[in-house]
């Protein structure tokens, strides 16, 4: 086996099957109670084609992943440790140290151990043994750390370096609490590579330190494994397993959703950025940071009405603005007339490239490229801002809905459509935001035009839904508007799926052509 294969490293074969094919089996975190029977898996084709037809429809841009709760992470470690303990016939504590030393790559550990057991033990800090593990009080013993010889309890790991229990306690406290170390705590003796095992540790320190030690070990487990990542949401303790290969990140955007509801990219860890691939996102974010001064003005919440010049403030996510003074209806984004936005010939989302004659000299070229960038950047930033405003607005609405519930007798269930609509707005704006970064790098061709049409459809649907949200609460309770909002919500979600599926298919097939490389 090629031990450097990035995909296989650290992954047991049964784990791999789960990742790739078995997303419907959500319970029991692998449940491989029969470590040895995994080689006798059912014939893949028979087993799975049947399953596929019953399980819920999977979208082409969805990726398989699995959420692990803290207890699952512990179970996974224990199972690997038990397996190595049985196969190699070594103590569980030593199996744990060896697995950590091999970054949880069980196959490579077993292979290497079979070849040269002594070398493996030595390099993992499990060198030759001299004594048993127990606390002892030894006459005439002087501790090399505290220099005391008062006949107190002492301890030595298998390397034989003996210190008093109090010194060990302080040493381990320093390593665990102050230095955040667990998997690679060495014997206190200078130059001794012996690693502190959990059984010895349990003998020496108090329960709370033991707990902290195991917490850090769990952390190390997730960090050591290539296919596991912590959910980046603050306070979330779950980890996600996903089998995506690094080299495939230009073809797939692996968005995963934690049980805590946080949706993020498994490839780069930032919040969901479909349909744009990780490298594009990285380049785009860098560009935005570098050019932040040029584009700064967009974050402003006020603009002037293009007709009468009075100041207009944006207080919801919707881009359909109506001037209070002159009643002019215009688009916040392009400042164009709103009524034209629904028509097939008006393009708010597309950047119209000027004809070549205008861009002859370098100065004109650079001006056009800046205009082009700002076109995409403004729309990108606007969706980000709008998503926030939509959320604020929903929170206000939610409060009023509670009042309305008591006044009109509507139940909590009956007002949930607003929650669903708000979620859809957030998700769709997140997608729209990244479609503009994506479009910035696209070359102009038929595929791009189709993409922009999809983008426009989704955008119009989102603006319409967003506008319904801005209605006063009394109108929101209206049965007709409720149905409209529910219809529009599902329409938005449908448009989003269409856009993402199309884009993902083209990405997987490598058919996008890029105007700007990333």
């Amino acid at each position: 086996m090629d031990s450097d294969d990035e995909y296989m490293s650290g992954l047991s074969s049964e784990g791999e099957d789960n990742i790739l094919q078995d997303e419907s089996d959500e319970e029991g975190s692998d449940g491989d109670d029969f470590g040895f029977e995994d080689d006798e898996e059912p014939e893949p084709d028979l087993g799975y084609s049947q399953k596929d037809s019953v399980k819920k429809e999977k979208k082409s841009f969805d990726i398989n992943f699995k959420v692990y709760h803290p207890a699952d992470i512990q179970t996974q470690q224990d199972e690997l440790i038990n397996e190595v303990n049985m196969i190699l016939d070594i103590r569980k504590e030593d199996a744990a140290i060896l697995l950590r030393h091999f970054r949880w790559n069980k196959e490579r550990l077993i292979e290497d151990y079979m070849d040269r057991p002594n070398k493996v033990l030595e390099s993992a800090g499990l060198g030759p043994s001299t004594s048993g593990l127990q606390l002892e009080s030894i006459m005439g013993f002087t501790c090399d750390i505290c220099y005391e010889d008062d006949g107190t309890q002492t301890f030595a790991m298998k390397c034989g370096h003996r210190y008093c229990v109090d010194c060990y306690k302080q040493y381990l406290g320093q390593k665990i609490i102050e230095e955040g170390e667990a998997a690679r705590i060495q014997c206190p003796n200078d130059g001794c590579k012996r690693i502190m095992d959990s059984k010895s540790l349990d003998l020496l320190v108090t329960a709370d330190l033991q707990q902290r030690y195991h917490e850090i070990l769990t952390r190390t487990f997730v960090e050591d494994k290539d296919h596991l990542k912590w959910c980046p949401a603050p306070d979330c303790q779950n980890a996600i397993e996903c089998g995506i290969k690094k080299k495939d990140l230009d073809k797939v955007v692996p968005t995963v959703a934690c049980d805590c509801k946080h949706r993020f990219c498994f490839g780069c860890g930032i919040p969901d950025h479909q349909p744009a691939p990780c490298d594009l996102v990285k380049k785009w974010l860098k560009k935005c940071a570098d050019d932040s001064e040029t584009a700064n003005w967009i974050s402003a919440n006020t603009k002037e009405c293009p007709k009468c010049g009075s100041t207009i403030e944006k207080n919801g996510g919707c881009n359909h603005m109506t001037c209070r003074k002159c009643k002019n209806e215009f688009c916040w984004m392009c400042m164009g007339i709103w009524s034209e936005h629904g028509t097939s010939w008006y393009n708010c989302n597309r950047f119209e490239e000027k004809s070549g004659s205008e861009a002859r000299d370098a100065q004109a070229k650079s001006r056009i490229s800046l205009e082009r960038y700002l076109h995409y950047y403004n729309r990108y930033a606007n969706h980000e801002l709008s998503a926030k405003l939509d959320k604020d607005l929903y929170q206000k609405t939610e409060k009023k809905m509670i009042q309305l519930q008591t006044a009109s007798g509507m139940s909590w269930i009956e007002v949930q459509y607003l929650n669903t609509a708000s979620q859809a707005l957030q998700t769709c704006r997140q997608t729209l935001k990244w479609t503009y970064a994506f479009a910035f790098y696209l070359a102009r061709n038929n595929l791009t035009i189709m993409f922009e049409d999809n983008q426009k459809d989704l955008e119009m649907a989102v603006e319409a839904l967003s506008e319904m949200f801005e209605k006063p609460v009394t109108e929101l309770a209206d049965a007709k508007l409720k149905v409209d909002i529910m219809d529009k919500t599902s329409y938005c979600n449908k448009r989003r799926v269409i856009l993402l599926a199309d884009t993902a298919d083209n990405l997987a097939n490598g058919v996008w052509s890029w105007g700007i490389s990333f």
Partner: protein, 157 residues
């Protein structure tokens, strides 16, 4: 204040070195258990350090000996105490030595063993030079020695 491991251990170390101080080392001051100064000379006839005495300053935290002490060379006009010339000693006295970092430290090390290590570090040196980037480092460094993440060029020097 309760007798901590740090004070217990340092009082024993102090008793031992006041009794017999190894060659080339002189205890200058050790009035409390937070800071000591020791003068050091190189034992062999390394021409780089001939007839020179260097002054070491030790700072102990209450986590000593679980945590290494902070050790620097300090310079003085009278009596003359220069900063020794060495590719791992910056001109402000900061020492880049694995032993004094979190990872290289062991609680069985002590003041005397540090001094002996520094003596042999000087003994084995033949380069009359400062570390690379010394000027910039000395001009800009505001970190305490133990918070600096040295890249240990090689352990032999």
């Amino acid at each position: 204040m309760a007798t901590t491991l740090a004070t217990k251990r340092l009082s024993k170390e102090l008793a031992k070195i006041t009794d017999i101080m190894p060659d080339g080392l002189t205890l200058v001051s050790a009035t409390d258990f937070t800071s000591w100064t020791i003068d050091l000379t190189v034992l062999d006839a390394n021409p780089l350090y001939l007839n020179q005495t260097f002054r070491l300053k030790f700072l102990f935290s209450d986590k000593y000996p679980m945590e290494p002490p902070e050790v620097v060379f300090v310079s003085l006009h009278e009596p003359p105490r220069p900063i020794p010339m060495h590719p791992h000693i910056y001109s402000n006295g900061i020492i880049c030595l694995d032993l004094l970092g979190q990872n290289g430290w062991s609680p069985v090390q002590n003041v005397q063993s540090i001094c002996v290590s520094l003596q042999s570090m000087l003994t084995g040196n033949s380069k009359n030079e400062r570390p690379e980037g010394d000027t910039a480092f000395v001009a800009t460094n505001r970190q305490r020695p133990r918070d600096i993440n040295f890249y240990y060029h090689d352990d032999k020097v």
